[in-house]
Structures are given as structure tokens and as C-alpha cells.
């Protein structure tokens, strides 16, 4: 063990003397943090906290695959390991020293990321250093196992780079480390459940947002640790000192045993604990600030439903007659109404909603929605969204009576512009089905069969959005008596 510790500290000193290594170890993660924070999060502390987990995950993955793993292959190709082999130093000491050095370099890197996120983006550091330490440790340990396994099975540097790319890019783009999981298609989310990086990203996001305690992610963290341990054992057993020593094809195939823990956990989660809803809940529950919008923020007044259960998910949604003018709207089921704008994707459109007097057909109240569409975002929008599930953006199955024509009906009036009704469902992922309607200055009833919304059958409904856009400019419309029949 002393040999491993000596070599580990030597390796750390060598990194400190190499400018390229210093850049990729400390500065490169900071670049990610500032790009994510300034560009994707627009400096919003809540969004920065949400994206902090992906930044840390990319950091520990990158260090393991492109630092630790490739360095091991380079040492073997260069012949540096041969001198160690002449000394009473075993392969376990070499593997252990690589793991230890990588880990000891990750800790200050992540601490620096956290400090910069707090100082520059005012991120609220509610997770605590203990939970952060545990998550970073698990991540660094797991991906070190992956990186060293790749180093063991690759015969050359080029081969190692091919394996790295084959594994790195899916982990990067399908795990939530780049695109938030709730924004990805449903089938991608199904795949993401089986990826190791997904569990680290979502654990970070859940804990950083305060939505769930660290203990809630115990099975996932356990799977990560088990896989990391298998990887390290594999790397130790198949360790090679010389580039002339080639690895057999059967041993390369055997390395796939690393994915077994994730197959198990992914299968279990798919069958019994689908995380899609919790991912969406964390994402949409972000307490965003800075834009003056409460997009994604759910207040007690908004969540007012006589029944949040699936059995009441039909019929009248809202008639806005319960609340007085100027108040927030209520709904008969689901989690209620929220303002939804393109600010969650970096846009600048705005919207506000409130109950007003003078509903359709002489009813007491209606929901007034007004705001401004600002061009710039890929898909500018702003409006009011009804969420039929128990939490914003949680899926709900609308219980369609057999005699029903399956339609959504509502009244609307406004400024004469064209608006859209968009239905979000699990089956369509982040791309909603939509229909346009033009409002006049008088109340008019609109009826849309559910079948007119492509891919919508009433199951897995996450939200129904009444929205302006994409044309830029001010907008104002009112809706009333929204119902399913």
C-alpha cells in the first residue's frame, strides 16, 4: 500500500508540473461551469444548482476516461511501467496509485467548482459538503473503474480512444449531463435509466435542488459503487506491464460485466420505480428567479384541486368562478395552473395570468393571460399551462368515459391573433402536439378532438398549454370553462 501511496503522490506532483494536465484538471471544468451558468442558466442561481450536477459528472467522467484511462495506456506504450516492474511493486499498487491520484485531484477541482458557482452565480449551496463529498467520491470511484478497464482491454492508444468515444458520447448526451432529461424524448429517457452517468446526474440534481435526500438515491449509488469495484478488480487482474502483452478477445468481452449492475437497476426502475416523473418534478420545480417570472414555480394557491387522483381526471378543468379577480386560478383536478415561457430554454418571452371578471356566456370569471413574445429562442412561447398530474409536469392518465367523444373544449377571446393549444405527453417527449386557434374580440367556443392531437390518447398527459408565439410582440387573451368531454 505504501508503494501505491508514494506513486500516487508522485503522479499528483507530475500533474502539477505539466501545464496541459493542469488546464484539463482544473481550468477545463471551470469553463464548463461558466458556459453552463452564463449561457444555459442565464445566471439563474436555481438553474445553476440544477446544472451543477451535470458539470461535476462531466468533470469526473472526463478525468476518468480521458485522463486516467489514456494515461495508463500511454505509460504502457511508452515503457514507463517496465522500470516499476523491476522493483518490488505489484500491479495492484500501480492500479491503486492511479485511482488514488485521480481521486485526490478531483476533490479540489469539485470544491473549486462549488466555490465559483456560489461566488459568481450565487448558487444556493443547500446540499452540504458531506453529501457533495459522497457524490463526488462515488462518481470518481465508479468512472475510474470504467477508465482503467478500458485501459486494460485496449492494446493501443488509438484503440483506447475508440472505446472512450463509443462510451463517452452516449453518457454525455443521453444521461442528462448536457440536455435535461425531461426535455428528451420518452424513449431516450427509457434508455437513460440504464446509463451509469444518469444516476449520478439525477442524484446530484435531486439533492442540489432539495427535492430529495441523498438516501433516496441509495440503490443507484450502490449500483455505481458495485460497478466501479468490478471495474477496478478487472483492471487489476488484467493489468499489463508491456505493450507487447496483448489481451485476448474473450477477456475484452468479459469486461462487459461492468454493465450488469446498471442492467439490474435499470430493469428494476423501469418496472417498479419509473424516475421520469421525479426527473420532471425536479426540473419543473426549479425556483427560478431573475426573470421576474414564476415559470416552473408552483405556489399553494395554484395547487388547489379537489382531487389529484386519476379517477377525477375528466370533465371540467376550470371555470375560474371560484376565485376573485386578480387572484391565481384554481383547477378541479391536477396540480393546477402555472405560467410557462421559453425562459427555461434561455428565451426572454414573458407572461402573467390572473383571474378577471366577465367570463364566457355571462359566467363570473375567466383567466386573463397577457405578455410579450421575444424572438431569439428556438421556439418562442409564453402562456398558461394546466398540469393534470399530482405535480407540475408529472404524467396523468385522463380517465376517458366510454361514452365520451374525447374532446377538449374551451372558450377564448382576445386581440385577434393566432394562439396555440399544446398538449405535452410522455409518449411525445418534449415535443408537444398542437392546434392553432384565432381569437376574436368576442367569446367563442373551441372544440378539439383529442385525436386531432397527433399521438395523444389521454394517457401520460403532462400539461396543456394555452400559448402565444412564435410571432414576437405583445399578446393578450382570455380563456374560460376548459373541460374534457
Amino acid at each position: 500500500m505504501m508503494a501505491a501511496i508514494r506513486i500516487a503522490f508522485l503522479n499528483i506532483r507530475l500533474v502539477m508540473r505539466t501545464r496541459v494536465a493542469l488546464f484539463f484538471t482544473f481550468l477545463f471544468p471551470l469553463i464548463f461551469l461558466f458556459v453552463y451558468g452564463a449561457v444555459f442558466a442565464h445566471g439563474d442561481p436555481a438553474v445553476v444548482a440544477y446544472l451543477f450536477g451535470p458539470v461535476v459528472t462531466i468533470t469526473v467522467m472526463g478525468s476518468a476516461f480521458w485522463g486516467l484511462g489514456l494515461q495508463s495506456v500511454t505509460q504502457r506504450e511508452r515503457g514507463s511501467l517496465r522500470r516499476y516492474r523491476l522493483a518490488p511493486v505489484g500491479s495492484g499498487a500501480i492500479v491503486g496509485s492511479s485511482l488514488l491520484a485521480n481521486y485526490l485531484l478531483q476533490l479540489p477541482t469539485v470544491a473549486l467548482l462549488a466555490i465559483c458557482a456560489v461566488v459568481f452565480f450565487h448558487m444556493r449551496f443547500t446540499v452540504g459538503w458531506r453529501a457533495l463529498f459522497i457524490l463526488v467520491s462515488v462518481g470518481a470511484y465508479t468512472f475510474a473503474g470504467f477508465g482503467l478497464t478500458i485501459a486494460s482491454v485496449a492494446n493501443t492508444m488509438q484503440e483506447a480512444q475508440v472505446y472512450n468515444n463509443l462510451i463517452w458520447f452516449p453518457l454525455l448526451f443521453l444521461s442528462g449531463a448536457t440536455f435535461p432529461l425531461p426535455m428528451l424524448p420518452h424513449w431516450v429517457q427509457r434508455v437513460a435509466i440504464f446509463l451509469p452517468a444518469t444516476h449520478l446526474v439525477t442524484a446530484f440534481q435531486g439533492v442540489m435542488s432539495g427535492a430529495r435526500p441523498l438516501s433516496a438515491y441509495t440503490p443507484q449509488l450502490l449500483a455505481l459503487v458495485v460497478s466501479g469495484t468490478v471495474g477496478l478488480l478487472f483492471a487489476w487482474k488484467l493489468f499489463r506491464w508491456d505493450k507487447e502483452d496483448k489481451i485476448s478477445t474473450s477477456n475484452k468481452v468479459l469486461s462487459l460485466v461492468l454493465i450488469i449492475p446498471f442492467l439490474i437497476i435499470g430493469t428494476w426502475m423501469t418496472a417498479y420505480a419509473d424516475p421520469s416523473a421525479s426527473w420532471a418534478s425536479v426540473f419543473n420545480g426549479l425556483d427560478r428567479q431573475g426573470s421576474g417570472q414564476s415559470a416552473g414555480k408552483v405556489t399553494k394557491e395554484q395547487v388547489s384541486s379537489p382531487s389529484g387522483s386519476a379517477s377525477g381526471l375528466w370533465g371540467l378543468v376550470s371555470d375560474f368562478d371560484d376565485s376573485g379577480p386578480g387572484s391565481q386560478p384554481t383547477a378541479r383536478f391536477g396540480s393546477g395552473w402555472i405560467v410557462s415561457t421559453d425562459s427555461m430554454l434561455g428565451g426572454k418571452s414573458t407572461a402573467e395570468m390572473s383571474v378577471v371578471d366577465g367570463g364566457a356566456e355571462g359566467s363570473k370569471g375567466a383567466l386573463q393571460v397577457r405578455g410579450t413574445i421575444v424572438s431569439g429562442a428556438a421556439f418562442p412561447w409564453a402562456g398558461a399551462m394546466f398540469c393534470p398530474g399530482p405535480q407540475p409536469f408529472a404524467p396523468a392518465d385522463l380517465s376517458v368515459p366510454t361514452e365520451s367523444r374525447k374532446e377538449i373544449i374551451f372558450w377564448a377571446k382576445g386581440d385577434g391573433k393566432t394562439y396555440r393549444i399544446l398538449i405535452f405527453s410522455q409518449s411525445r417527449g418534449t415535443i408537444p402536439a398542437s392546434q392553432d386557434f384565432v381569437v376574436g374580440d368576442r367569446w367563442k367556443q373551441y372544440t378539439f378532438p383529442l385525436s386531432s392531437f397527433s399521438g395523444i390518447d389521454g394517457r401520460g398527459i403532462q400539461g396543456i398549454l394555452f400559448s402565444a408565439g412564435p410571432d414576437s410582440g405583445n399578446f393578450s387573451f382570455a380563456i374560460d370553462d376548459i373541460r374534457f368531454q
Binding site: L10, R78, S80
Partner: protein, 311 residues
């Protein structure tokens, strides 16, 4: 202590065989090394020298035969063996950014009884380069560092694989004097080389290796004495000598002529010289130049293998 002789055996290799796929690198290599002697494995590239030394170091397992080093099995008792031997690879590669003293202390830390680092660095002329990065060292300094690392555990047996390859003459001489110092300290040395002069100068005994086999083994003097070619006389005379006349010279068993110079192979050389002088006097032929050289290990190698060591 006189090297070899009745001294205990430090290395025993018997019938070593090693295959790399269909290539037979070693085909029954056998030799012993006594305590305190400098033993050489001399042969061309690809003869099996490095494979042999790697088996002794425990880096490779033989496919046949047996080997004991310092009374230990290099395969099964590798950890204990490495505590007692020092080795210098044909090409030692260290990280570019490691400092000289850092490398010395790192490797010294792996052993139960390390030598004094400061004394070693002083001895190998590295004291002033203690804080220098490895990448800034010259080729000679890197070689000296590799040698110093081989002694960091004060070993009883030092294994050196082609220690002077690629070095200039001065550095080569420096290495030679270091090896002679090892001998003076009572260490046992095994070195592999393809330089004849190096084997002749340094080694108490030499095993000539070719194509995975030991073709000759003995002290350099013994090996040379076995050469059937004998000494060589280079002769230049004022008038051409007839082939019949040369063939009849006493003690001369072979000859050839090139560009007016006659090369006579004779044993014993003194009789051949006397016979040559008598012949020249009888023929009124003036002796212009005479040069006598002893056979070398290369001559022995050529006789044994039919080709030169560089081929």
C-alpha cells in the same frame, strides 16, 4: 574474493526454453554464474540475450527448463528476488517531469534496505542534477541515473542489459569503470552485450549466444584459445610470394591475400614468424611490414556460427 572458482553459485540456468508464438527465442540455454564474477552474454541482436535476462529478473516465465537466482525461483519468489537484485533495462524510461532525486527516493522507498541516496548520486555524478527534470538530462546522465537506480537497494546481483548501446566512447568507458567498481565491491554482475571489446574487457567469463543457444562458454582467453584459426600475421613484402611457398611454411594453416598484403593464420605464431623470415631470406625478399594479432571473440563467433556478430 576471487571471482568464480569455488565461490557459491548465484545464478543457475538449465535448459531454458522460451517461445513467442512460433518463434523459439531460447532453445535450451544453460549456464551458471559464481558469486563475485562479471559474466557476459555475448551475441547479436535477436540471439535471446534480453529474453534470458528477463527470465532471470522474473519478468518472463520460461516455457521449459529451470532457473534459480540467489537461490530463489524468479517466477514464484519474484517479490523477494527483486529485493536482492538490481537491474538496468536496455532502455529505461521515466516520466519527463520527474526530478532526479525524486526518482531515486521513490525507488529507494520500495526496498527494505535501501542504499544511501546521496552517496549514490555523488558516485554517479548526479549530485548537482538532483533537482533537474528527467527530460532535461543528457543521454549519458539518463544512463547513469538508470545505473544508480539499479543500485538503489544495494543489490548482491546486478543485471545489465546492453548498458552501453548508443553511448559515445567516453561514456562507454565510464560505464566500464563502474562495472569494474561493482566487481571490486564483490557484487556479481551479468551483462548482455553485442560489443566484442566490452565482453573481452569486462567479463570474467562469457557465454556466446546465437539463435537461442549457448554456442560457447568460458573465459575470454579460453574461448580464444579454442579458436582453430590461431593468430594472424599481416605481411607486406617487396616481391610477391607464391601460394606454394606459403603453404609450406611451418605452423601456417591458412592464408589469403588482399591488395598486396598477405594474411597468414598460424599457430604457434612464433614458429610461423621464424619460418617466414627464413623463406624471405632464401628468396631475397624484403620484409616491408609485419603485424601480429591474436584471435578475438568475434573470430570465435564467426567460427561457431559462420557469420559475423553484426549480421
Amino acid at each position: 574474493m576471487r571471482p568464480g572458482g569455488s565461490n557459491p553459485t548465484v545464478v543457475e540456468a538449465a535448459g531454458l526454453c522460451k517461445n513467442y508464438g512460433s518463434v523459439q527465442a531460447l532453445r535450451g540455454v544453460s549456464f551458471e554464474i559464481k558469486k563475485g564474477e562479471v559474466f557476459g552474454l555475448l551475441g547479436p541482436n535477436g540471439a535471446g540475450k534480453t529474453t534470458t535476462i528477463e527470465i532471470l529478473e522474473g519478468l518472463r516465465q520460461p516455457d521449459g527448463g529451470s532457473v534459480r537466482v540467489c537461490g530463489l525461483d524468479p517466477t514464484r519468489q519474484s517479490g523477494e528476488l527483486k529485493q536482492r537484485i538490481g537491474a538496468q533495462l536496455q532502455a529505461t524510461v521515466l516520466p519527463d517531469k520527474i526530478r532526479v532525486d525524486e526518482a531515486m527516493r521513490l525507488f529507494a522507498g520500495f526496498y527494505r534496505r535501501p542504499a544511501s541516496i546521496d552517496k549514490l548520486m555523488e558516485r554517479f555524478g548526479l549530485a548537482e542534477k538532483g533537482h533537474a527534470l528527467y527530460e532535461t538530462l543528457s543521454g549519458g546522465q539518463k544512463q547513469r541515473l538508470a545505473l544508480a537506480l539499479a543500485l538503489v537497494n544495494d543489490p548482491e546481483l546486478v543485471l545489465m542489459d546492453e548498458p552501453t548501446v548508443g553511448l559515445d566512447v567516453q561514456l562507454r568507458r565510464d560505464i566500464y569503470s563502474m562495472v569494474e567498481t561493482f566487481r571490486g565491491e564483490g557484487r556479481t554482475v551479468l551483462l548482455t552485450t553485442h560489443y566484442i571489446e566490452e565482453a573481452e574487457r569486462l567479463c570474467d567469463r562469457v557465454a556466446i549466444v546465437d539463435r537461442g543457444q549457448v554456442v560457447a562458454l568460458g573465459t575470454p582467453r579460453e574461448l580464444v584459445a579454442r579458436s582453430s584459426r590461431g593468430s594472424r600475421l599481416e605481411v607486406r613484402v617487396s616481391k610477391p610470394l607464391g601460394a606454394d611457398m606459403i603453404k609450406q611454411l611451418e605452423a601456417v594453416h591458412d592464408f589469403n591475400e588482399r591488395d598486396g598484403t598477405y594474411f597468414l593464420y598460424a599457430q604457434p605464431v612464433a614458429r610461423a614468424v621464424v619460418a617466414l623470415i627464413r623463406l624471405l631470406e632464401m628468396e631475397s625478399n624484403e620484409l616491408l611490414d609485419l603485424h601480429v594479432s591474436q584471435p578475438t571473440l568475434e573470430d570465435v563467433f564467426v567460427e561457431m556460427t559462420g557469420r559475423k556478430i553484426e549480421e
